[in-house]
């Protein structure tokens, strides 16, 4: 008898993340300047860390309610209302999750019947398609184009819809392109979504990091609240990635469904992290504002520098990524990133790991000190000069 693997076929067939490969290449190298990091360079504000320490001193080490501390959900509800003009009931429409990723997972599992299609707008965060697969759905990608700054258009969306389409996952401001959809653009997309009766899973984790236009939540668009699962969290805006704390807001029936999955698989998010998040919402908004200002300056610096050295780069409206085109060098994004790492010790992420439309681009995170960015720009200019 042939010994077959114990691993499920679904998992065996799941493609490993292309980012992992670059991590392995870069991790043991000395003197690397990394633009490959998908998280803030700020350490969580001291007032937040201090509040977490206090909660431990006070012995707050037990489980919380499945959906999270009610004080925190109330605080989230008023934050979402004041900041983004969307109203959710703290007791029935908000679940505190283990990061945005878990929120996306339970959102998909709560809505998908086997074989239903979910549209994934690429280039995008590497987890969306695998999470759709794990939830028993079928991921169908939409390839946005650089000529349109990777903005999803209503036409592209409508073309991708089939009778089997249940939902769309979108993320604005976007990882890896930094592209932010304006309100008018969201309204056009919303029309198609409503026409075809789809659910939108809107990953708004970068909502606090919008630099030019005010951020508009998908749920704030007329008629979208009842069909939107809104994902947000503390990782990016509040510089709290390692705490693993996010939240999901949705219509009551979907929230109830997600809570079933959450209570059986997660019980609740980490208690100490929830107390930290409570403090972040109560007193952290000034820090968020300062971080936003600082990212904006660094964005301006890096985008100008890329364009100067001959890497065409659109101005990303949010997040902390620039997504320049490397087509002028004639290298593929994998070749470019590998050569750059070995020849100049600068780590970037090749665009194709975020979807096929990311090919010809690299993702450069500017969440690094200005000194690091200056050094990276110096090395990259030298590199591009060689291959141009």
């Amino acid at each position: 008898m042939i010994q077959t693997s114990f691993v499920s076929k679904t998992i065996a067939d799941l493609k490993p993340s292309g980012i992992r490969r670059f991590f392995d290449l870069a991790v043991n190298m000395e003197g690397v300047v990394s633009l490959g990091v998908g998280e803030p360079d700020f350490v969580t504000s001291w007032n937040v860390r201090e509040a977490a320490i206090l909660s431990l001193e006070e012995g707050r080490t037990s489980y919380t309610a499945n959906a999270g501390l009610i004080e925190l959900r109330q605080e989230i509800a008023s934050y979402m209302k004041n900041r983004f003009a969307v109203s959710y009931q703290p007791d029935s429409q908000i679940i505190v999750t283990v990061g945005g990723s878990q929120a996306i997972d339970i959102a998909l599992r709560a809505i998908l019947n086997p074989g239903e299609e979910v549209l994934v707008v690429e280039p995008c965060f590497v987890a969306y398609s695998p999470l759709v697969t794990l939830a028993g759905g079928v991921a169908k990608t939409i390839q946005t184009v650089k000529e349109n700054e990777f903005k999803l258009t209503a036409a592209e969306l409508e073309e991708a819809i089939t009778p089997n389409t249940k939902a769309i996952i979108m993320c604005s401001p976007n990882n890896p392109t930094g592209t932010q959809l304006r309100k008018e653009e969201l309204i056009e997309i919303a029309k198609i979504v409503q026409k075809h009766n789809l659910v939108v899973i809107s990953d708004e984790i970068y909502a606090e990091l919008a630099y030019d236009d005010d951020f508009t939540s998908v749920a704030a668009i007329d008629g979208m609240m009842e069909r939107t699962i809104l994902i947000n969290g503390f990782s990016k805006g509040f510089a709290m990635t390692g705490w693993r704390l996010g939240f999901v807001c949705a219509p009551k029936d979907i929230t109830e469904a997600m809570l079933k999955i959450h209570q059986y698989t997660m019980m609740c998010a980490s208690t100490v992290a929830q107390y930290a998040a409570l403090e972040a919402l109560r007193s952290g908004m000034n820090d968020v504002e300062n971080m936003r200002k600082s990212y904006r300056q660094r964005r301006n610096y890096i985008v100008k520098s890329f364009n100067e050295m001959g890497l065409d780069c659109h101005i990303p409206g949010g997040a902390f990524y620039a997504f320049p085109s490397i087509e002028r060098t004639g290298l593929s994004s994998q070749e470019f990133a590998e050569k750059l790492l070995f020849e100049e010790k600068v780590a970037v992420v090749p665009g194709n790991v975020f979807g096929e439309s990311g090919e010809g681009h690299i993702r450069c995170s500017y969440a690094s000190s200005l000194e690091q960015l200056q050094e990276a720009i110096k090395r990259m200019s030298r590199f591009v000069e060689k291959y141009k």
Binding site: F23, A26, V32, K293, Q297, N300, Y301, K304, V349, L370
Partner: protein
């Protein structure tokens, strides 16, 4: 004086790093280099940018034995000039590093440096407390500076703890 948002941003960046390259600064605030030069010149002329100094941790320098004291000074304000006249008399002394008018239990906060505690003590007893309007002084010597003007002197664990490539 009213400053534009861009001027304000330039000021904030220069306050943190006065040696920043104008070309880099121009990119950061989306301006031309000449615009930066003009703005900085204007702000210097208007005495908004007062001087470009460095923060030095003298405690690390062997030959340095200086001491710093913060002195709470109570004074009698004078009709017509308030506290300004006595503040002027105080800040003209070279030993005086800073003078602030305070709310609360005393009026002026004066920071004085000297080569030794004795020298500072002498300054307080002979120069400061003998001024006509000065009613009383309370001197606090600084033992160690941890953070000054927003800068931590000996940061701990400052290295980047993030993994080198992440999604």
């Amino acid at each position: 004086m009213h400053l534009t948002e861009k001027e304000l941003e330039i000021l904030q960046i220069i306050e943190q790093n006065s040696r920043i390259d104008f070309n880099d600064l121009a990119k950061m605030v989306d301006a031309d280099e000449s615009e930066i030069a003009d703005t900085v010149q204007k702000l210097e002329d208007m005495n908004v940018i007062v001087c470009y100094a460095s923060i030095i941790n003298w405690a690390k320098v062997d030959a340095y034995h200086g001491v710093t004291a913060m002195i709470d000074v109570k004074v009698t304000p004078k009709r017509g000039v308030g506290f300004n006249e006595v503040a002027q008399r105080i800040y003209r002394f070279n030993e005086v590093e800073s003078v602030y008018l305070m709310s609360g239990a005393y009026d002026l906060s004066v920071v004085v440096t000297g080569q030794s505690m004795n020298e500072v003590a002498q300054f307080v007893s002979e120069k400061l407390s003998t001024l006509d309007s000065v009613i009383s002084t309370t001197t606090h010597f600084i033992l160690k500076k941890y953070k000054h003007d927003g800068t931590i002197f000996e940061p701990i664990n400052e290295e980047d703890k993030r993994i080198v490539v992440s999604p």
